[in-house]
Amino acid sequence: MASSSQTEHSVYYVPASGWYPVFLAFGLMVTVTGLASWLNVNKTGGATDWSQTIVGTIIVIAVLYSWFAKVVAENAQGLNNAMLNKSYVWGMGWFIFSEVMFFAAFFGALFYVRALVVPWLGGDGAKGITGDYLWPEFQAAWPVVTNPDAAIFSNPGQSMAAPEVSVAAMSNWGAYLPFWNTVILLSSSFTVHWAHHAIKHADRFKLIMWLSITCALGVLFVFLQGLEYVHAYRDLGLTLNSGIYGSTFFLLTGFHGFHVTMGTFILIVQLFRAIKGHFTANDCFGFEAASWYWHFVDVVWVGLFIFVYIF
């Protein structure tokens, strides 16, 4: 029964050999060795040179472009059967899980520092003796505005913490960028969902409209995040060198911002594909994967907003 119903089209498509992977691996190696050499030279104060990193990045981008173009073309030729599409679904799902675990490492560091390390350094808790011996004057608080050794890690006493939640402080929230970024990113999750809805109803105009709005919101988010960093560095003196608060703040929000940038880029690619008419109600996995990724960065932001900014 199984073999008699096999048609050519239900055969699992195994691509013939291709040059993309080995060139991508090569490009990655060129990029990271260039970056490593840049960092090491920079640390010793020598003359730095971006050229190798740029060449590597160009190779990576060129290969990724050809690779994805090929995959899109193969799909258009009808080579992908239902089973292969399911492999893509599993693949994207587990990729997002790996991203979740990447952020978990940084959230874990934040929670460990806030729950244990800072109190111990302040002389409280099971290992409070640490603080008593090392820096007896250090007062535990979060955000840590005065570091245990303020000579090495300087923090002028500012943080990005949210204003109080009260009627009197309402006006402060209006000027609080992370609040607006939350609004922007949450809205973009809705707009990308409506774009998906439009694909399902074969409404290309609405698809392009909602997807464009989503991309615009993504760009706006990254722009405002950039403004916030400028504000932190220039006005508040809050930097990567500001001790553990600056470290966790910038790496968590920075990697999130990087993911939003990537997500926006992916959505822009999907927008071009939508304009070209690639998507149909039954065949739109590229879009769906991008939108899952987008929902994922949105959820991470909610976690950030709660644990980095509010509490």
Binding site: V14, M29, W94, M101, P148
Partner: protein
């Protein structure tokens, strides 16, 4: 248009391998990629083994004879990193590539191009890592666990390259694992339910899950290192409110699942070999599956048993002691089942079976010394001694590595269509078995007597045990060169093998001819009860 599709389709399915170097560079075939992984890991085994022999040469006698302590540290560090990330892990991924599509009745891995990418990242990553040994300031010298601040404040400049090499290896592992999970969950032949899957497939499904869960955490750890080194953050610096012990927590949250990543596929391999040569069904298949799943779950909540002496609160020490001891239960179930499988079987002792039985015995010994280390107060004595070295080498060498060697002998006829030379195989086994025990068994004693690990010189009282250990290491090291000889000789002049190469062996891969055709199951096979597992 339809001709285009047709032509394209035939291009992709009916060709055999391409000729020359591009076959290996551009391949999307799971068998080619599996072969690449296996040869790569063997090369890394020899490189890592060479570093181990440098270590054992220096330790042959007390005093500093051949190398400086600084270089010794680079040797221990790179030996560990190369063996863990370059030899053991890629060997298991190679086996997964070769076997999983055949065992589940799939045409190939789910995402063949990404499969090739996962492999080709590795030579570049290890090229970067090994090149650090020749850089100014030397290579990584902070131990394979790269604890901060040794790996941050006090690290040689080459640490930056090391960090990016780890990032690349992580990306390779994650992509490889995604591929394996997608293959197993999506591409099983009709009729192969989850609880009919071969044990090797089950163990790899769970291993791949562990890899996807923890490799990103390792990426996070090295990223924090990178920022501490180059951008003045203070994750692992208490002066800025961070904590060097936090590095150990993050590292071991990755590291403990990692050690199970290196042993679960071994459990799968042994669960194929023992039933075959005992001529019985695997005893307690269901409990084997649940045991592996339990071990995987527990692996996430035991990490701090590597850090009993760093100054954790008592409640933490107790929690991690008890949770660690719990692992003995599912592991005991597995050992019991392997023995019960052999019980009253009509056993024969071909090379794979010898390695598998040695695995059961010696891995169990490594497990027991692990149980000793799990006892917090006892660990205060054992911590960072050669007892720990003996423990993890017993689970990794006669554990993981023996299972890989067993797998190579067991599936060799399926891969090459040739039978290996049984006499030479047995000689290889006995040399390895004797070598491994002569090397690592005395280390239990020197460790219990207090000899610290990672030192180039030691007190006179440890001289005899170290000398024995070094002799064993050379026996073991050179017997792996003999392994290479056996493999090459068998590939060139082995006797032709049958499709079902072992008497009564179960599994879909044995329904194929030997060597297995370039594309195995373009159409999914019928899964019969007899062939499932």
């Amino acid at each position: 248009m339809s001709e285009v599709i047709h032509a394209g389709h035939h291009d992709d399915h009916d060709h055999g391998p391409a000729k020359g170097l591009t076959r290996w560079l551009f391949t999307t075939n799971h068998k080619d990629i599996g072969t690449l992984y296996l040869w790569f890991s063997f090369a890394m085994l020899l490189v890592g083994g060479l570093l181990a022999l440098v270590i054992r040469t220096e330790l042959f006698q007390p005093g500093l004879q051949f190398i400086q302590p600084e270089f010794f540290n680079q040797m221990t560090t790179n030996h560990g990193l190369i063996m863990v990330f370059g030899a053991i892990m890629p060997a298991f991924v190679g086996l997964a590539n070769w076997l999983i599509p055949m065992q589940v009745g799939a045409p190939d891995m789910a995402l063949p191009r990404m499969n090739n990418l996962s492999f080709w990242i590795l030579p570049f990553a290890f090229g970067m890592m090994i090149s650090t040994l020749f850089m100014e300031g030397g290579g990584p010298n902070f131990g394979w666990t790269f604890y901060a601040p040794l790996s941050t404040t006090y690290a040689p400049p080459s640490v930056t390259y090391f960090i990016f090499a780890v990032h690349l290896m992580g990306a390779s592992s994650i992509m490889g694992s995604i591929n394996i999970i997608a293959t197993i969950l999506n591409m099983r032949a009709p009729g192969m339910t989850l609880m009919k899957m071969p044990m090797f497939v089950w163990t790899w499904l769970i291993t791949a899950y562990l890899l996807i869960a923890v490799m990103p955490v390792l990426a996070g750890a090295v990223t924090m290192m990178l920022f501490d080194i180059h951008f003045d953050t203070s994750f692992f610096n208490a002066a800025g409110g961070g904590d060097p012990v936090m590095f150990q927590h993050i590292f071991w949250f990755f590291g403990h699942p990692e050690v199970y990543i290196m042993i679960l596929p071994a459990f799968g391999i042994v669960s194929h070999i023992i039933p075959t040569f005992a001529r019985k069904q695997l005893f307690g298949y269901d409990s084997m599956v649940y045991a592996v799943a339990s071990i995987a779950f527990l692996s996430f909540i035991v990490w701090a048993h590597h850090m009993f002496t760093v100054g954790m609160p008592l409640a933490g020490q107790l929690f991690f002691m008890y949770s660690t001891m719990l692992i003995a239960v599912p592991t005991g179930v597995k050992v019991f089942n392997w023995i019960a499988t052999m019980w009253r079987g009509s056993m024969t002792f071909e090379t794979p079976m010898l390695f598998a039985i040695a695995f059961v015995v010696l891995f169990t010994m490594g497990g027991f010394s692990g149980l000793m280390l799990a006892i917090t107060p006892a660990d205060y004595q054992y911590h960072d001694t050669y007892f720990v070295v003996a423990h993890f080498h017993y689970v990794l060498v006669p554990g993981a590595l023996f299972s890989i060697i067993a797998a190579v002998y067991f599936w060799f006829p399926k891969w090459t269509g040739k039978m290996y030379d049984e006499t030479l195989g047995k000689i290889h086994f006995w040399l390895s078995f004797i070598g491994v025990n002569v090397t690592f068994f005395p280390q239990h004693f020197s460790g219990l007597a207090g000899m610290p690990r990672r030192i180039p010189d030691y007190a006179l009282q440890f001289a005899d045990f170290n000398m024995i250990s070094s002799v064993g290491a050379f026996i073991f090291g050179f017997s792996q060169l003999f392994f290479l000889y056996v493999i090459i000789k068998s590939i060139r002049s082995g006797t032709p093998a049958e499709g079902r190469s072992w008497e009564g062996v179960k599994g879909l891969e044995w329904t194929l001819p030997s060597p297995a055709p370039y594309h195995s199951f373009t159409y999914p096979p019928e899964v019969t009860e007899a062939d499932a597992r």
